[in-house]
């Protein structure tokens, strides 16, 4: 098989060849105020620094497209299933409006972008969740897109690299969204049983049903500094135990200490880190 064949998209009539326009990672104004130190940061400066505040090191949330630009080799990303989008199957109140708003805000059709790319020259399948789409919540289309990606990667013996950011299962799709946890887990398991690598990168915040499924199923799990990672959100826990939580609780540094992740990797170093991991698993092929 030729190398370029690895990047062929699976036959899917829902797809089109058109590439979506890039969306800016940071609001359109020239300047933004850092939510952590309140200092004004130039947008251009923020783009230079991978969305990290130059003054205090705060990690701005960044969109899926900006992240793909940061991680994938230039022009190597080919999107899969770009047209798939959620519908209000259960006729849940206010969900249609919520979807419309999410599409407008994120300029995406769903809370995850999937496809194939190269990282440091190494081919891989890539999924990146989108925080501006209902907080990266997992409905049936998010589950479907990630499942398809793992199935594709299993067929093509490709490693999967996945960036998570999610509030958990999408309530508005009821049991259908809960069961995506089992569905994706099954696809991850079969990908793993076939001897393929899966690297999960947990970003702020990764919680609920995503933590309790594919976020925690990576062969290698890394996180961004300070990322909130947990099953229950801190507010729910505080309401349950009626106590304030310690400040670093459920943060990436805490998970490293308790043994649940392999490392914390700064945004600017992630591409090199992942490329190295892919090299270490490439058996001499690139």
């Amino acid at each position: 098989m030729l190398m370029k064949d690895l990047f062929k998209k699976p036959g899917n009539k829902l797809e089109s060849d058109e590439q979506k326009p890039k969306t800016p990672s940071i609001p359109d104004e020239l300047c933004v105020s850092c939510p952590s130190c309140s200092k004004a940061v130039f947008k251009a400066e923020l783009n230079e620094s991978f969305g990290v505040c130059p003054s205090c090191g705060h990690y701005f949330k960044i969109g899926a497209r900006a992240r793909i630009d940061m991680i994938a080799d230039k022009k190597s990303f080919v999107e899969h299933d770009a047209k798939l989008t959620s519908t209000n199957t259960l006729a849940f109140p206010e969900y249609d409006e919520k979807l419309e708003k999410a599409k407008k805000e994120s300029k995406e059709r769903e809370a995850v972008v999937t496809g194939v790319c190269r990282i440091g020259g190494y081919p891989c399948a890539l999924f990146v969740m989108e925080p501006r789409f209902i907080m990266g919540s997992m409905g049936r289309i998010v589950g479907e897109k990630i499942t398809r990606l793992f199935e594709y990667a299993t067929k093509k013996s490709l490693p999967v690299v996945g960036f998570t950011v999610s509030g958990g299962a999408r309530m508005q799709e009821g049991i259908l969204s809960l069961l995506q946890m089992a569905k994706v887990s099954g696809a991850v398991k079969y990908h793993s049983d076939a001897g393929n690598l899966y690297v999960a990168v947990l970003t702020n915040p990764t919680t609920g049903g995503v933590t309790a499924s594919f976020a925690m199923q990576g062969d290698i799990i890394i996180a961004e500094p300070g990322a909130l990672i947990g099953f229950a959100g801190p507010r729910v826990i505080e309401q349950t135990i009626l106590q304030k939580l310690p400040p670093n609780f459920q943060r990436a540094e805490y998970l490293l200490q308790t043994g649940f992740i392999d490392g914390i990797v700064e945004r600017k170093d992630q591409k090199d880190y992942i490329a190295r991991i892919l090299k270490l698993h490439s058996r001499g092929v690139s």
Partner: protein, 265 residues
């Protein structure tokens, strides 16, 4: 009965819990304890028992009966060690060729500092991941509350059955109402919206069978006993060579069943 009435029925005081089902359906139950990692979670009851004349592994999320027992059982909300204890017993079931029967009754996995620090998310994720390819038949029966990921962690099964007054939901109706309408009192509306009743779940393909509740639960136990024997019969009757083929088919079917939830053509 509206959806919220069913939620109330599923939580009603005096409703039989997992240990009642175990006691009345199986014989020779021997309970096993601990996850060999941290401790023994009493919200999960696990062990080996006879179903008629064949051994099975039995696991239940147990809420307890009186207040003292409820506290001891943490009201049926398991910590990570509970899910790990369940998985340990499931792996032994696979090793010894025993089918697995799970009884699900929980408001959800426990939300607390200890549960989080010991990896609640990782523990549930591990169960979903491992159960999908476990080479032994799994039947999960929802007998009361089916609360979100904490219920699903014992329900990646070949057959999911549900009692007519039990429910299974991505979030509690109270949680849904307070997020959606900032008003926890709108539980009635939330219960309807979530499509969490046995009939809705059957329609959505989340469960395979509804088990009708009778005034007298003795009939329910007897019904479950016969349904289990009927379903598991082919696995017991098959010869060694055929059995592997049967298990291959079973695993394919298990994956496909979850795969088709939310599938888009």
């Amino acid at each position: 009965m509206g959806a919220y009435d069913k939620v109330l029925a599923a939580r009603a005081k005096g409703r039989p819990t997992a240990v009642d089902f175990i006691k009345n359906i199986f014989t020779d139950f021997v309970e096993m304890h601990g996850d060999r990692r941290f401790g023994d979670d009493k919200a999960v009851v696990a062990g080996i028992a006879m179903l008629g004349d064949v051994p099975v592994t039995v696991i239940g999320l147990e809420k307890g009966h009186d207040l003292k027992e409820k506290v001891m059982r943490n009201f049926g909300s398991a910590h990570p060690e509970g899910y790990r204890k369940a998985l340990r017993q499931m792996k032994l079931a696979e090793k010894f060729g025993r089918p697995i029967v799970c009884f699900v009754d929980t408001a959800g996995a426990y939300c607390g500092v200890d549960a989080e620090s010991r990896g609640q998310g990782e523990a549930i994720a591990e169960n979903l991941y491992e159960m999908m390819t476990l080479r032994t038949p799994i039947v999960s029966i929802f007998i009361g509350e089916g609360g979100s990921g904490g219920a699903l962690a014992l329900a990646v099964a070949d057959e999911v059955w549900i009692l007519s007054n039990a429910f299974y939901s991505v979030i509690s109706p109270e949680g849904c109402a307070s997020i959606l309408w900032k008003d926890a009192k709108k539980v009635r509306e939330a219960s309807e919206c979530l499509k969490l009743t046995a009939e809705d779940l059957l329609w959505l393909g989340a469960v395979e069978r509804i088990i009708e509740e009778k005034e007298d639960f003795a009939d329910v136990y007897k019904n479950i006993y016969f349904l289990l024997i009927e379903y598991l019969d082919k696995y017991y009757k098959s010869q060694e060579k055929d059995k592997e083929k049967l298990l291959d088919e079973m695993l394919k079917k298990r994956y496909k069943k979850f795969r088709k939830i939310g599938e888009v053509s």
